[in-house]
Amino acid sequence: MATDSKPIDDVSFAEVSCDDQTIIKINNNISLDIAGENALILYFTNSSSSTVTDLKSNIIKEKSVAISPAINAHVQQAVTIIRQHLATSVIDLIPSYGSILVVFDLLTIDHHSLRKQLKQLLINCEAVNNKQGRLVELPAYYSAESGIDLPRIAKHANLTVEQVIQLHQAQEYRVYAIGFAPGFAYLGEVDERIAMPRLATPRLKVPKGAIAIADQQTAVYPAQSPGGWNIIGLCPTDMFNAEANPTMPVEVGDRVKFVAISKQEFLKLGGQLDANSAEDLNKTPEPIEKQSKAKQVC
Protein backbone atom coordinates (compact mmCIF):
# COMPACT_ATOMS: atom_id res chain seq x y z
CA MET A 1 0.00 0.00 0.00
CA ALA A 2 1.30 3.44 -0.80
CA THR A 3 2.59 5.22 2.27
CA ASP A 4 0.06 8.06 1.96
CA SER A 5 -2.87 5.70 2.19
CA LYS A 6 -1.35 3.55 4.91
CA PRO A 7 -4.36 2.63 7.03
CA ILE A 8 -2.34 1.59 10.02
CA ASP A 9 -0.93 3.94 12.61
CA ASP A 10 2.79 3.81 13.20
CA VAL A 11 4.16 0.76 14.84
CA SER A 12 7.57 1.51 16.12
CA PHE A 13 10.30 -0.83 17.15
CA ALA A 14 9.98 0.46 20.69
CA GLU A 15 6.66 -1.34 21.04
CA VAL A 16 7.80 -4.62 19.58
CA SER A 17 11.12 -5.78 20.77
CA CYS A 18 12.78 -8.43 18.70
CA ASP A 19 13.81 -10.08 21.95
CA ASP A 20 10.31 -10.41 23.34
CA GLN A 21 9.71 -13.67 25.07
CA THR A 22 6.52 -14.97 23.49
CA ILE A 23 6.50 -18.47 24.90
CA ILE A 24 4.65 -19.62 27.99
CA LYS A 25 5.07 -22.90 29.77
CA ILE A 26 1.89 -24.87 30.50
CA ASN A 27 3.56 -27.73 32.33
CA ASN A 28 6.83 -29.66 32.20
CA ASN A 29 6.04 -31.10 28.80
CA ILE A 30 3.85 -28.53 27.04
CA SER A 31 4.59 -24.95 26.06
CA LEU A 32 2.54 -22.44 24.12
CA ASP A 33 3.77 -19.88 21.60
CA ILE A 34 2.40 -17.48 18.99
CA ALA A 35 1.99 -18.63 15.37
CA GLY A 36 0.00 -15.84 13.69
CA GLU A 37 -2.81 -13.29 13.96
CA ASN A 38 -5.37 -16.00 14.75
CA ALA A 39 -3.16 -18.97 15.56
CA LEU A 40 -1.25 -20.26 18.57
CA ILE A 41 1.03 -23.28 18.60
CA LEU A 42 1.51 -25.88 21.33
CA TYR A 43 4.86 -27.66 21.55
CA PHE A 44 5.27 -31.01 23.28
CA THR A 45 8.43 -32.45 24.72
CA ASN A 46 9.35 -35.47 26.72
CA SER A 47 10.79 -34.26 30.00
CA SER A 48 12.75 -37.45 30.52
CA SER A 49 14.62 -36.85 27.29
CA SER A 50 14.85 -33.10 26.94
CA THR A 51 17.75 -33.50 24.51
CA VAL A 52 15.28 -34.67 21.88
CA THR A 53 13.90 -31.26 21.09
CA ASP A 54 14.49 -27.84 22.48
CA LEU A 55 11.92 -27.31 25.21
CA LYS A 56 11.02 -23.90 23.81
CA SER A 57 10.30 -24.87 20.28
CA ASN A 58 10.44 -27.57 17.72
CA ILE A 59 14.09 -27.35 16.85
CA ILE A 60 15.75 -30.55 15.85
CA LYS A 61 18.85 -31.22 17.85
CA GLU A 62 19.41 -34.80 16.87
CA LYS A 63 17.36 -35.56 13.83
CA SER A 64 17.50 -39.32 14.24
CA VAL A 65 15.81 -39.33 17.66
CA ALA A 66 13.51 -36.37 17.24
CA ILE A 67 10.41 -38.43 16.43
CA SER A 68 8.82 -40.04 19.45
CA PRO A 69 5.63 -42.11 19.66
CA ALA A 70 5.19 -41.06 23.30
CA ILE A 71 5.24 -37.35 22.45
CA ASN A 72 2.90 -37.92 19.51
CA ALA A 73 0.48 -39.82 21.78
CA HIS A 74 0.55 -36.81 24.10
CA VAL A 75 -0.26 -34.57 21.10
CA GLN A 76 -3.22 -36.82 20.25
CA GLN A 77 -4.56 -36.64 23.78
CA ALA A 78 -4.38 -32.85 23.80
CA VAL A 79 -6.18 -32.72 20.41
CA THR A 80 -9.06 -34.74 21.89
CA ILE A 81 -9.30 -32.43 24.91
CA ILE A 82 -9.21 -29.25 22.80
CA ARG A 83 -11.83 -30.57 20.37
CA GLN A 84 -14.11 -31.46 23.28
CA HIS A 85 -13.89 -28.15 25.09
CA LEU A 86 -13.13 -25.41 22.59
CA ALA A 87 -15.31 -26.44 19.66
CA THR A 88 -16.91 -23.00 19.30
CA SER A 89 -13.85 -20.78 19.41
CA VAL A 90 -11.34 -23.00 17.63
CA ILE A 91 -11.66 -23.16 13.83
CA ASP A 92 -9.26 -26.03 13.20
CA LEU A 93 -6.22 -27.86 14.52
CA ILE A 94 -3.11 -29.18 12.78
CA PRO A 95 -1.48 -31.83 14.94
CA SER A 96 1.98 -32.96 13.89
CA TYR A 97 4.91 -34.93 15.39
CA GLY A 98 5.33 -32.76 18.48
CA SER A 99 3.08 -29.76 18.02
CA ILE A 100 -0.50 -28.59 17.52
CA LEU A 101 -1.35 -25.47 15.53
CA VAL A 102 -4.53 -24.00 17.04
CA VAL A 103 -6.37 -21.71 14.61
CA PHE A 104 -9.08 -19.69 16.35
CA ASP A 105 -11.97 -17.41 15.46
CA LEU A 106 -11.01 -13.81 16.23
CA LEU A 107 -14.67 -12.85 16.35
CA THR A 108 -15.35 -15.33 19.16
CA ILE A 109 -12.23 -15.29 21.31
CA ASP A 110 -8.98 -13.33 21.67
CA HIS A 111 -5.51 -14.72 22.23
CA HIS A 112 -5.48 -13.77 25.92
CA SER A 113 -8.54 -15.83 26.79
CA LEU A 114 -7.54 -18.67 24.49
CA ARG A 115 -4.14 -18.90 26.16
CA LYS A 116 -5.80 -18.97 29.56
CA GLN A 117 -8.25 -21.67 28.49
CA LEU A 118 -5.57 -23.82 26.87
CA LYS A 119 -3.48 -23.54 30.00
CA GLN A 120 -6.35 -24.61 32.23
CA LEU A 121 -7.32 -27.47 29.93
CA LEU A 122 -3.87 -28.87 29.39
CA ILE A 123 -2.06 -28.21 32.67
CA ASN A 124 -2.85 -31.73 33.85
CA CYS A 125 -2.61 -33.35 30.45
CA GLU A 126 0.01 -36.01 30.99
CA ALA A 127 1.40 -38.28 28.33
CA VAL A 128 -0.73 -41.38 28.64
CA ASN A 129 0.67 -44.82 28.16
CA ASN A 130 0.88 -44.86 24.39
CA LYS A 131 -2.68 -45.92 23.61
CA GLN A 132 -2.74 -48.44 20.79
CA GLY A 133 -4.23 -47.04 17.62
CA ARG A 134 -6.20 -49.02 15.03
CA LEU A 135 -4.08 -51.36 12.89
CA VAL A 136 -4.45 -50.72 9.15
CA GLU A 137 -2.82 -53.05 6.63
CA LEU A 138 -1.77 -51.56 3.32
CA PRO A 139 -0.93 -53.86 0.40
CA ALA A 140 2.44 -53.12 -1.17
CA TYR A 141 3.76 -54.24 -4.53
CA TYR A 142 7.53 -54.03 -4.07
CA SER A 143 9.49 -54.67 -7.27
CA ALA A 144 12.03 -53.22 -9.64
CA GLU A 145 9.27 -51.90 -11.89
CA SER A 146 7.25 -50.29 -9.08
CA GLY A 147 10.13 -49.25 -6.81
CA ILE A 148 12.68 -47.46 -8.90
CA ASP A 149 14.89 -46.48 -5.94
CA LEU A 150 15.15 -49.97 -4.39
CA PRO A 151 18.60 -50.66 -5.89
CA ARG A 152 19.93 -47.29 -4.70
CA ILE A 153 18.70 -47.86 -1.18
CA ALA A 154 20.11 -51.39 -1.17
CA LYS A 155 23.46 -50.10 -2.30
CA HIS A 156 23.40 -47.26 0.23
CA ALA A 157 22.51 -49.71 3.02
CA ASN A 158 24.82 -52.44 1.86
CA LEU A 159 21.91 -54.86 1.72
CA THR A 160 20.14 -56.81 -0.98
CA VAL A 161 16.91 -55.45 -2.51
CA GLU A 162 15.06 -58.35 -0.85
CA GLN A 163 16.43 -57.34 2.54
CA VAL A 164 15.34 -53.72 2.03
CA ILE A 165 11.79 -54.92 1.22
CA GLN A 166 11.86 -57.28 4.18
CA LEU A 167 12.92 -54.50 6.57
CA HIS A 168 10.28 -52.09 5.26
CA GLN A 169 7.39 -54.50 5.78
CA ALA A 170 8.66 -55.95 9.05
CA GLN A 171 8.00 -52.71 10.90
CA GLU A 172 4.70 -51.41 12.23
CA TYR A 173 4.44 -47.67 11.62
CA ARG A 174 2.59 -44.91 13.40
CA VAL A 175 0.63 -42.21 11.55
CA TYR A 176 2.32 -39.13 13.01
CA ALA A 177 0.71 -36.42 10.93
CA ILE A 178 -1.45 -35.82 7.88
CA GLY A 179 -0.74 -32.82 5.72
CA PHE A 180 1.40 -31.33 2.99
CA ALA A 181 -1.11 -32.61 0.41
CA PRO A 182 -4.60 -34.16 0.73
CA GLY A 183 -4.29 -37.64 2.21
CA PHE A 184 -0.52 -37.52 2.71
CA ALA A 185 0.19 -39.44 5.93
CA TYR A 186 3.62 -39.19 7.53
CA LEU A 187 4.51 -42.68 8.83
CA GLY A 188 7.40 -43.49 11.14
CA GLU A 189 9.83 -44.80 11.90
CA VAL A 190 11.60 -46.74 9.21
CA ASP A 191 14.38 -49.13 10.32
CA GLU A 192 17.45 -46.93 10.42
CA ARG A 193 19.35 -49.30 8.13
CA ILE A 194 17.06 -48.35 5.22
CA ALA A 195 16.64 -44.67 6.16
CA MET A 196 17.51 -42.63 3.09
CA PRO A 197 17.81 -38.86 2.60
CA ARG A 198 15.50 -37.09 0.14
CA LEU A 199 16.67 -36.70 -3.44
CA ALA A 200 18.73 -33.55 -3.94
CA THR A 201 16.39 -32.49 -6.74
CA PRO A 202 12.76 -33.58 -6.37
CA ARG A 203 11.17 -35.47 -9.26
CA LEU A 204 8.51 -33.64 -11.22
CA LYS A 205 6.24 -36.65 -11.26
CA VAL A 206 5.85 -39.30 -8.60
CA PRO A 207 3.03 -41.74 -9.45
CA LYS A 208 -0.12 -42.09 -7.37
CA GLY A 209 0.30 -44.85 -4.79
CA ALA A 210 4.11 -44.65 -4.68
CA ILE A 211 5.45 -46.00 -1.38
CA ALA A 212 8.48 -43.94 -0.50
CA ILE A 213 11.11 -43.28 2.15
CA ALA A 214 12.60 -39.98 3.34
CA ASP A 215 15.02 -40.27 6.25
CA GLN A 216 13.20 -42.41 8.81
CA GLN A 217 9.78 -41.50 7.47
CA THR A 218 7.73 -43.42 4.96
CA ALA A 219 4.52 -42.55 3.12
CA VAL A 220 2.20 -43.43 0.24
CA TYR A 221 1.73 -40.62 -2.31
CA PRO A 222 -2.07 -40.11 -2.46
CA ALA A 223 -1.98 -38.61 -5.97
CA GLN A 224 0.52 -38.03 -8.72
CA SER A 225 2.65 -35.10 -7.67
CA PRO A 226 6.19 -33.77 -7.62
CA GLY A 227 8.25 -35.28 -4.82
CA GLY A 228 11.70 -35.98 -3.48
CA TRP A 229 11.16 -39.19 -1.52
CA ASN A 230 12.77 -42.50 -2.53
CA ILE A 231 10.29 -44.84 -4.22
CA ILE A 232 10.28 -48.51 -3.20
CA GLY A 233 6.88 -49.79 -4.34
CA LEU A 234 3.26 -49.10 -5.19
CA CYS A 235 0.14 -49.36 -3.04
CA PRO A 236 -3.20 -49.99 -4.84
CA THR A 237 -5.27 -48.56 -1.95
CA ASP A 238 -6.65 -45.03 -2.42
CA MET A 239 -5.09 -42.85 0.29
CA PHE A 240 -7.54 -40.06 -0.50
CA ASN A 241 -10.88 -40.36 -2.22
CA ALA A 242 -13.20 -37.38 -1.93
CA GLU A 243 -16.20 -39.59 -2.85
CA ALA A 244 -15.46 -42.35 -0.33
CA ASN A 245 -16.46 -42.58 3.31
CA PRO A 246 -14.11 -42.44 5.09
CA THR A 247 -12.09 -40.25 2.76
CA MET A 248 -8.83 -41.75 4.00
CA PRO A 249 -8.02 -45.31 5.15
CA VAL A 250 -5.93 -43.98 8.06
CA GLU A 251 -6.03 -41.21 10.64
CA VAL A 252 -3.40 -39.74 12.92
CA GLY A 253 -2.53 -42.20 15.70
CA ASP A 254 -3.33 -45.33 13.66
CA ARG A 255 -0.77 -48.10 13.17
CA VAL A 256 0.11 -49.11 9.63
CA LYS A 257 1.66 -52.31 8.35
CA PHE A 258 2.65 -52.93 4.75
CA VAL A 259 1.90 -56.40 3.38
CA ALA A 260 3.76 -57.49 0.26
CA ILE A 261 1.58 -58.53 -2.70
CA SER A 262 2.32 -59.89 -6.16
CA LYS A 263 1.88 -58.00 -9.41
CA GLN A 264 -1.30 -59.99 -10.12
CA GLU A 265 -2.79 -59.09 -6.73
CA PHE A 266 -1.77 -55.46 -7.23
CA LEU A 267 -3.58 -55.28 -10.57
CA LYS A 268 -6.59 -57.13 -9.17
CA LEU A 269 -6.86 -54.59 -6.35
CA GLY A 270 -7.14 -51.85 -8.95
CA GLY A 271 -3.49 -50.84 -8.99
CA GLN A 272 -2.18 -49.30 -12.19
CA LEU A 273 1.23 -49.51 -13.76
CA ASP A 274 2.02 -46.65 -16.06
CA ALA A 275 4.26 -48.01 -18.78
CA ASN A 276 5.96 -44.66 -19.10
CA SER A 277 6.35 -44.01 -15.42
CA ALA A 278 9.86 -45.41 -15.05
CA GLU A 279 11.00 -43.34 -17.99
CA ASP A 280 9.35 -40.21 -16.59
CA LEU A 281 10.92 -40.79 -13.21
CA ASN A 282 14.37 -40.79 -14.70
CA LYS A 283 13.88 -37.49 -16.45
CA THR A 284 15.73 -34.68 -14.78
CA PRO A 285 13.46 -31.96 -13.48
CA GLU A 286 13.07 -28.83 -15.56
CA PRO A 287 14.93 -25.78 -14.34
CA ILE A 288 12.91 -23.82 -11.82
CA GLU A 289 12.39 -20.89 -14.20
CA LYS A 290 10.59 -23.17 -16.61
CA GLN A 291 8.44 -24.65 -13.89
CA SER A 292 7.52 -21.24 -12.61
CA LYS A 293 6.23 -20.15 -15.96
CA ALA A 294 3.83 -23.06 -16.02
CA LYS A 295 2.49 -22.43 -12.54
CA GLN A 296 3.01 -18.75 -12.25
CA VAL A 297 -0.34 -17.89 -10.76
CA CYS A 298 -2.02 -21.15 -9.91
Binding site: M1, I8, A35, G36, E37, S96, L101, P182, C298
Partner: protein, 318 residues
Protein backbone atom coordinates in the same frame (compact mmCIF):
# COMPACT_ATOMS: atom_id res chain seq x y z
CA UNK B 1 -29.75 -24.42 -14.40
CA UNK B 2 -28.89 -21.19 -16.18
CA UNK B 3 -26.24 -18.63 -15.35
CA UNK B 4 -23.12 -17.70 -17.29
CA UNK B 5 -21.22 -19.51 -20.04
CA UNK B 6 -17.44 -19.18 -20.03
CA UNK B 7 -16.43 -18.00 -23.50
CA UNK B 8 -12.81 -17.39 -22.57
CA UNK B 9 -11.41 -18.46 -19.19
CA UNK B 10 -8.57 -15.92 -19.08
CA UNK B 11 -5.25 -16.54 -17.32
CA UNK B 12 -6.65 -18.02 -14.12
CA UNK B 13 -10.27 -17.67 -13.07
CA UNK B 14 -11.39 -19.57 -9.99
CA UNK B 15 -14.59 -20.25 -8.11
CA UNK B 16 -14.03 -19.16 -4.51
CA UNK B 17 -16.10 -18.84 -1.39
CA UNK B 18 -14.71 -17.69 1.98
CA UNK B 19 -12.57 -20.84 2.14
CA UNK B 20 -12.51 -24.43 3.38
CA UNK B 21 -12.25 -24.83 7.13
CA UNK B 22 -12.25 -27.95 9.28
CA UNK B 23 -10.53 -30.28 6.80
CA UNK B 24 -6.93 -29.96 8.01
CA UNK B 25 -7.20 -33.54 9.32
CA UNK B 26 -7.31 -34.72 5.69
CA UNK B 27 -4.44 -32.47 4.68
CA UNK B 28 -6.73 -30.01 2.85
CA UNK B 29 -5.69 -26.37 2.84
CA UNK B 30 -8.04 -23.35 3.13
CA UNK B 31 -8.15 -21.88 -0.35
CA UNK B 32 -10.57 -18.95 -0.46
CA UNK B 33 -10.16 -15.44 -1.89
CA UNK B 34 -6.56 -14.22 -2.05
CA UNK B 35 -7.90 -10.70 -1.39
CA UNK B 36 -10.66 -11.24 1.15
CA UNK B 37 -11.56 -7.54 1.31
CA UNK B 38 -12.29 -7.11 -2.41
CA UNK B 39 -14.17 -10.44 -2.34
CA UNK B 40 -16.37 -9.28 0.54
CA UNK B 41 -17.15 -5.96 -1.18
CA UNK B 42 -18.29 -7.79 -4.33
CA UNK B 43 -20.78 -9.78 -2.29
CA UNK B 44 -21.88 -6.79 -0.22
CA UNK B 45 -22.57 -4.74 -3.36
CA UNK B 46 -24.84 -7.58 -4.53
CA UNK B 47 -26.59 -7.77 -1.16
CA UNK B 48 -25.28 -11.31 -0.64
CA UNK B 49 -24.09 -13.14 2.44
CA UNK B 50 -20.41 -12.25 2.71
CA UNK B 51 -19.23 -15.84 2.21
CA UNK B 52 -21.21 -16.32 -1.02
CA UNK B 53 -19.42 -17.71 -4.04
CA UNK B 54 -17.62 -15.27 -6.37
CA UNK B 55 -15.22 -15.69 -9.28
CA UNK B 56 -11.62 -14.69 -8.60
CA UNK B 57 -10.09 -13.43 -11.85
CA UNK B 58 -6.28 -13.20 -11.89
CA UNK B 59 -4.71 -10.69 -14.32
CA UNK B 60 -7.73 -10.72 -16.68
CA UNK B 61 -8.89 -12.22 -19.95
CA UNK B 62 -12.17 -13.73 -18.74
CA UNK B 63 -15.21 -13.47 -21.04
CA UNK B 64 -18.65 -14.60 -19.90
CA UNK B 65 -22.00 -14.70 -21.66
CA UNK B 66 -25.03 -14.16 -19.44
CA UNK B 67 -27.89 -16.63 -19.94
CA UNK B 68 -30.22 -14.78 -17.55
CA UNK B 69 -31.02 -11.25 -16.42
CA UNK B 70 -29.14 -10.64 -13.20
CA UNK B 71 -27.32 -8.12 -10.99
CA UNK B 72 -23.54 -8.42 -10.77
CA UNK B 73 -20.68 -6.48 -9.16
CA UNK B 74 -16.95 -6.47 -9.87
CA UNK B 75 -14.33 -5.32 -7.36
CA UNK B 76 -10.57 -5.60 -6.90
CA UNK B 77 -7.74 -4.91 -9.35
CA UNK B 78 -8.73 -2.27 -11.95
CA UNK B 79 -9.29 -4.60 -14.92
CA UNK B 80 -10.90 -2.82 -17.87
CA UNK B 81 -14.44 -4.20 -17.71
CA UNK B 82 -16.84 -4.06 -20.64
CA UNK B 83 -20.38 -5.23 -21.28
CA UNK B 84 -21.08 -5.72 -24.98
CA UNK B 85 -18.05 -3.51 -25.59
CA UNK B 86 -19.21 -0.65 -23.34
CA UNK B 87 -16.93 0.36 -20.47
CA UNK B 88 -18.36 -0.29 -17.00
CA UNK B 89 -16.90 0.97 -13.68
CA UNK B 90 -15.87 -1.40 -10.89
CA UNK B 91 -17.01 -1.21 -7.24
CA UNK B 92 -20.72 -1.01 -8.05
CA UNK B 93 -23.57 -3.35 -8.85
CA UNK B 94 -25.40 -3.22 -12.18
CA UNK B 95 -27.88 -5.15 -14.27
CA UNK B 96 -26.92 -7.46 -17.07
CA UNK B 97 -29.37 -9.03 -19.51
CA UNK B 98 -29.50 -12.49 -21.00
CA UNK B 99 -27.15 -12.53 -23.99
CA UNK B 100 -24.81 -9.83 -22.66
CA UNK B 101 -21.09 -10.41 -23.06
CA UNK B 102 -19.01 -9.50 -19.98
CA UNK B 103 -15.33 -9.08 -20.71
CA UNK B 104 -12.34 -8.48 -18.41
CA UNK B 105 -9.29 -6.87 -20.01
CA UNK B 106 -5.85 -7.17 -18.47
CA UNK B 107 -4.80 -5.10 -15.49
CA UNK B 108 -1.40 -3.46 -15.10
CA UNK B 109 -1.79 -2.77 -11.37
CA UNK B 110 -3.08 -5.23 -8.85
CA UNK B 111 -3.70 -8.87 -9.79
CA UNK B 112 -7.09 -10.15 -8.70
CA UNK B 113 -10.68 -9.05 -9.31
CA UNK B 114 -13.90 -10.53 -7.99
CA UNK B 115 -17.20 -11.00 -9.76
CA UNK B 116 -20.25 -11.67 -7.61
CA UNK B 117 -23.85 -12.17 -8.71
CA UNK B 118 -26.95 -11.29 -6.69
CA UNK B 119 -28.25 -14.48 -5.11
CA UNK B 120 -24.93 -16.23 -5.64
CA UNK B 121 -23.63 -18.97 -7.91
CA UNK B 122 -25.03 -22.45 -7.46
CA UNK B 123 -22.06 -24.81 -7.14
CA UNK B 124 -21.95 -28.01 -5.06
CA UNK B 125 -19.47 -27.73 -2.19
CA UNK B 126 -16.71 -30.29 -1.56
CA UNK B 127 -15.70 -30.78 2.09
CA UNK B 128 -17.93 -27.89 3.08
CA UNK B 129 -16.68 -25.33 0.56
CA UNK B 130 -16.64 -24.51 -3.14
CA UNK B 131 -13.18 -22.86 -2.94
CA UNK B 132 -11.01 -24.11 -5.81
CA UNK B 133 -7.54 -25.35 -4.92
CA UNK B 134 -5.98 -26.47 -8.23
CA UNK B 135 -3.02 -28.14 -6.50
CA UNK B 136 -5.45 -30.41 -4.62
CA UNK B 137 -7.99 -30.76 -7.47
CA UNK B 138 -10.65 -29.82 -4.93
CA UNK B 139 -13.59 -27.40 -5.18
CA UNK B 140 -14.94 -25.35 -8.07
CA UNK B 141 -16.15 -27.37 -11.04
CA UNK B 142 -14.36 -30.76 -10.87
CA UNK B 143 -11.51 -29.27 -8.84
CA UNK B 144 -10.38 -27.21 -11.78
CA UNK B 145 -9.97 -23.56 -12.75
CA UNK B 146 -12.61 -22.27 -15.14
CA UNK B 147 -12.28 -23.56 -18.69
CA UNK B 148 -14.00 -22.62 -21.93
CA UNK B 149 -17.68 -23.63 -22.14
CA UNK B 150 -18.06 -24.16 -18.39
CA UNK B 151 -21.52 -23.19 -17.17
CA UNK B 152 -21.70 -21.17 -13.97
CA UNK B 153 -25.24 -21.71 -12.70
CA UNK B 154 -26.82 -18.90 -10.66
CA UNK B 155 -29.47 -18.95 -7.99
CA UNK B 156 -31.71 -16.69 -10.02
CA UNK B 157 -33.54 -14.13 -7.92
CA UNK B 158 -34.58 -11.47 -10.40
CA UNK B 159 -37.49 -13.33 -11.98
CA UNK B 160 -39.49 -12.93 -8.77
CA UNK B 161 -38.75 -9.22 -8.54
CA UNK B 162 -40.23 -6.18 -10.23
CA UNK B 163 -37.67 -4.07 -12.05
CA UNK B 164 -38.28 -1.06 -9.80
CA UNK B 165 -37.54 -3.16 -6.72
CA UNK B 166 -34.01 -3.91 -7.83
CA UNK B 167 -31.53 -1.83 -5.89
CA UNK B 168 -28.08 -1.05 -7.23
CA UNK B 169 -25.21 0.12 -5.02
CA UNK B 170 -21.91 1.91 -5.26
CA UNK B 171 -18.96 1.90 -2.85
CA UNK B 172 -17.87 5.50 -2.08
CA UNK B 173 -14.62 6.24 -3.87
CA UNK B 174 -12.81 7.08 -0.65
CA UNK B 175 -13.41 3.51 0.53
CA UNK B 176 -12.18 1.84 -2.64
CA UNK B 177 -8.76 0.25 -2.07
CA UNK B 178 -5.90 1.52 -4.19
CA UNK B 179 -3.50 -1.17 -5.34
CA UNK B 180 0.13 -0.24 -5.17
CA UNK B 181 3.39 -1.79 -6.32
CA UNK B 182 4.78 -1.24 -2.81
CA UNK B 183 3.37 -2.90 0.27
CA UNK B 184 4.22 -2.93 3.96
CA UNK B 185 3.57 -6.27 5.62
CA UNK B 186 2.90 -6.03 9.34
CA UNK B 187 4.44 -9.13 10.80
CA UNK B 188 3.98 -10.78 14.17
CA UNK B 189 7.20 -12.37 15.43
CA UNK B 190 6.29 -16.00 16.06
CA UNK B 191 7.19 -19.66 15.60
CA UNK B 192 11.03 -19.97 15.52
CA UNK B 193 11.77 -16.21 15.68
CA UNK B 194 13.97 -16.74 18.70
CA UNK B 195 16.30 -18.80 16.55
CA UNK B 196 17.07 -15.67 14.51
CA UNK B 197 19.49 -13.23 16.13
CA UNK B 198 18.35 -9.72 17.05
CA UNK B 199 20.62 -8.34 14.35
CA UNK B 200 19.13 -10.68 11.73
CA UNK B 201 15.62 -9.64 12.74
CA UNK B 202 16.44 -5.94 12.60
CA UNK B 203 18.01 -6.37 9.17
CA UNK B 204 14.96 -8.33 8.04
CA UNK B 205 12.66 -5.49 9.11
CA UNK B 206 14.91 -2.84 7.56
CA UNK B 207 15.48 -4.44 4.16
CA UNK B 208 13.44 -4.06 1.04
CA UNK B 209 12.38 -7.20 -0.78
CA UNK B 210 11.00 -7.77 -4.26
CA UNK B 211 8.38 -10.24 -5.36
CA UNK B 212 10.31 -12.91 -7.30
CA UNK B 213 8.99 -14.76 -10.34
CA UNK B 214 7.60 -17.41 -7.99
CA UNK B 215 4.34 -15.95 -6.79
CA UNK B 216 1.02 -17.72 -6.68
CA UNK B 217 -1.92 -18.47 -4.41
CA UNK B 218 0.24 -20.88 -2.43
CA UNK B 219 2.84 -18.30 -1.50
CA UNK B 220 5.04 -15.40 -2.57
CA UNK B 221 8.77 -16.02 -2.74
CA UNK B 222 10.69 -12.78 -2.23
CA UNK B 223 14.15 -11.68 -3.35
CA UNK B 224 16.37 -9.54 -1.18
CA UNK B 225 18.78 -9.70 1.71
CA UNK B 226 19.01 -13.31 2.87
CA UNK B 227 17.84 -13.99 6.42
CA UNK B 228 20.23 -16.25 8.27
CA UNK B 229 19.63 -18.72 11.05
CA UNK B 230 21.77 -21.45 12.52
CA UNK B 231 19.03 -24.09 12.46
CA UNK B 232 18.69 -26.45 9.51
CA UNK B 233 15.17 -27.57 9.97
CA UNK B 234 12.41 -28.23 12.42
CA UNK B 235 10.09 -31.12 13.01
CA UNK B 236 7.34 -30.60 10.45
CA UNK B 237 4.56 -28.52 12.00
CA UNK B 238 1.31 -26.73 11.10
CA UNK B 239 1.62 -23.60 8.95
CA UNK B 240 -0.81 -20.70 9.46
CA UNK B 241 -1.98 -18.14 6.87
CA UNK B 242 0.69 -15.48 6.39
CA UNK B 243 3.55 -17.50 7.90
CA UNK B 244 6.97 -16.25 6.74
CA UNK B 245 9.09 -19.27 5.97
CA UNK B 246 12.87 -18.97 5.68
CA UNK B 247 14.32 -21.80 3.57
CA UNK B 248 18.01 -22.64 3.36
CA UNK B 249 18.79 -19.84 0.87
CA UNK B 250 17.42 -17.25 3.32
CA UNK B 251 14.90 -15.73 0.87
CA UNK B 252 11.56 -15.34 2.68
CA UNK B 253 8.38 -17.01 1.42
CA UNK B 254 5.04 -15.63 2.63
CA UNK B 255 2.52 -18.49 2.65
CA UNK B 256 -1.02 -17.71 1.55
CA UNK B 257 -4.40 -19.37 0.92
CA UNK B 258 -3.29 -22.50 -0.95
CA UNK B 259 -0.24 -23.18 1.26
CA UNK B 260 0.70 -26.69 2.30
CA UNK B 261 -0.69 -27.39 5.77
CA UNK B 262 2.50 -28.87 7.26
CA UNK B 263 6.12 -27.99 6.63
CA UNK B 264 9.61 -28.26 8.07
CA UNK B 265 11.29 -24.94 7.26
CA UNK B 266 11.92 -22.43 10.07
CA UNK B 267 9.51 -19.49 10.25
CA UNK B 268 10.34 -16.03 11.57
CA UNK B 269 6.79 -14.75 11.96
CA UNK B 270 3.41 -14.31 10.33
CA UNK B 271 1.96 -11.43 8.28
CA UNK B 272 -1.45 -10.14 9.41
CA UNK B 273 -4.42 -11.14 7.24
CA UNK B 274 -5.24 -7.71 5.80
CA UNK B 275 -1.64 -7.32 4.60
CA UNK B 276 -1.65 -10.84 3.12
CA UNK B 277 -4.58 -9.64 0.98
CA UNK B 278 -2.51 -6.63 -0.15
CA UNK B 279 0.45 -8.87 -0.96
CA UNK B 280 -1.82 -11.11 -3.05
CA UNK B 281 -2.46 -8.05 -5.28
CA UNK B 282 1.30 -7.81 -6.03
CA UNK B 283 3.26 -9.36 -8.87
CA UNK B 284 6.89 -9.96 -9.89
CA UNK B 285 9.09 -6.94 -9.19
CA UNK B 286 6.75 -5.24 -6.70
CA UNK B 287 8.39 -3.99 -3.52
CA UNK B 288 7.74 -5.43 -0.09
CA UNK B 289 8.85 -4.35 3.38
CA UNK B 290 8.17 -6.06 6.69
CA UNK B 291 7.26 -4.17 9.84
CA UNK B 292 7.03 -5.77 13.28
CA UNK B 293 3.74 -5.67 15.13
CA UNK B 294 2.67 -7.12 18.47
CA UNK B 295 -0.07 -9.74 18.61
CA UNK B 296 -2.27 -7.39 20.65
CA UNK B 297 -1.91 -4.59 18.15
CA UNK B 298 -2.60 -7.02 15.28
CA UNK B 299 -5.75 -8.05 17.11
CA UNK B 300 -6.87 -4.41 17.39
CA UNK B 301 -6.20 -3.80 13.71
CA UNK B 302 -8.25 -6.85 12.77
CA UNK B 303 -11.27 -5.60 14.71
CA UNK B 304 -10.90 -2.02 13.42
CA UNK B 305 -10.76 -3.42 9.89
CA UNK B 306 -13.93 -5.50 10.37
CA UNK B 307 -15.69 -2.63 12.04
CA UNK B 308 -14.79 -0.21 9.28
CA UNK B 309 -16.09 -2.64 6.67
CA UNK B 310 -19.38 -2.95 8.54
CA UNK B 311 -19.83 0.79 9.06
CA UNK B 312 -19.31 1.94 5.47
CA UNK B 313 -22.58 3.04 3.87
CA UNK B 314 -23.04 2.10 0.24
CA UNK B 315 -24.53 4.73 -2.05
CA UNK B 316 -27.76 3.76 -3.79
CA UNK B 317 -27.48 4.42 -7.50
CA UNK B 318 -30.70 3.24 -9.09
Amino acid sequence: MLGFVVKNAGVLSLIQDAGRYGAFNLGLTNGGPADALAFSWANKLCGNELNSIAIEISLGGLTLIAQIDCVIAVTGAPMPLTINGHKIPLWRSFMVQAGDEIHFGFTSTGVRSYLAVQGGFDITPTFGSTATVCRESIGGINGNKLTENDILPCKSVLQHKLKQDIKLWLLPEAEQPVYSAEVVLHTILSYQHQQFSTVEKRLFFNSEYQVSKLWDRMGYRLDGRAVNTDIDGILSEGICYGAVQIPADGQPIVLLNDRQTIGGYPKIGAVISQDCARLAQCREGDKVRFEPISLSKADNLFHLHINRFRRVKLIECS
